[in-house]
């Protein structure tokens, strides 16, 4: 859905239905759509987690240093 929505068609949904009910597919699809829309928006706002991995409250500059300016790469994701 995020990288190639044209590939998610009738055949894809037929495959999903072998494992998920219609309600579960709607649950997944709307959850993915929501996250797809919002994470891109959030990414433009440049904010970072409030806490370091050790639980310390950190300011945004330190958090940016800890977590990095960009998320880990997804290169290779989804390739079987």
């Amino acid at each position: 859905m995020a990288t190639d929505p044209a590939a998610v068609g009738q055949e894809f949904y037929a495959g999903l239905r072998r494992y998920y009910s219609a309600a579960e597919i709607v649950e997944l699809g709307s959850f993915i759509g929501f996250n797809l829309g919002f994470h891109t928006f959030f990414g433009t706002l440049k904010f970072y987690p409030m806490f370091a991995p050790d639980g310390r409250l950190v300011n945004q500059q330190e958090s940016a240093r800890i977590y990095g300016d960009a998320p880990a790469s997804l290169v290779g994701a989804g390739r079987g």
Partner: protein
């Protein structure tokens, strides 16, 4: 037919959800098809439809401008369903197809839009085409025309509607109510 069949109206018994679907039908965005697909997960449907309606019709950014943005995004998402819908309220308030076409085309050079409106159209346009360009300098430019609350209103509206449009596009509904170009 969509890849996930919508529930028949009679199968939706939750009164809160039925009332939200009626609100959607009155506005025209979405019509009852998408809500009846979402209705397979009633709690999700209620939360998402309420958020879609609030973000589109309430707040301090002009509803007609949001309607142009919503259609621009639906075309970007290649979703004929949402691209074909029109807000009855926006159209009653004077929005027309020429303005929609201009907002989805070369709005930067269109005399139809104010600088503030162009920033909003650019915000939606760039958010998914080139999110890296929506940076601190971009937000500084937006803040010359919009309050931070209005920018959040626009950003959340764009994110939610685009996300639902991409989902709907994959359902391949294929029942475009004759997209008006």
């Amino acid at each position: 037919m969509p890849c996930i069949e919508p529930l028949a109206p009679g199968e939706i018994r939750d009164p809160e959800l039925r009332a939200l679907i009626e609100r959607c039908e009155r506005l025209g965005v979405p019509d009852s098809l998408f809500p009846r697909i979402l209705a397979r997960v009633p709690d999700y449907a209620k939360a998402l439809l309420r958020a879609m309606l609030i973000s589109h019709t309430e707040g301090n950014v002009d509803h007609k401008l949001k309607e142009i943005i919503r259609i621009q995004l639906a075309r970007r998402a290649a979703d004929p369903y949402f691209a074909g819908l029109r807000s009855a309220r926006a159209m009653a308030d004077g929005l027309d197809e020429a303005a929609i076409a201009a907002g989805c085309d070369d709005y930067e050079r269109s005399p139809r839009f104010s600088e503030a409106e162009k920033w909003a159209l650019r915000y939606a346009d760039q958010m998914y085409l080139d999110p890296a360009s929506v940076d601190a300098a971009f937000y500084a430019g937006m803040k010359q025309h919009y309050s931070e609350a209005q920018i959040m209103e626009l950003g959340a509206f764009i994110a939610l509607h685009y996300g639902m449009q991409v989902f709907m596009r994959t359902l391949g509904n294929g029942a475009p109510p004759a997209e008006k170009n």
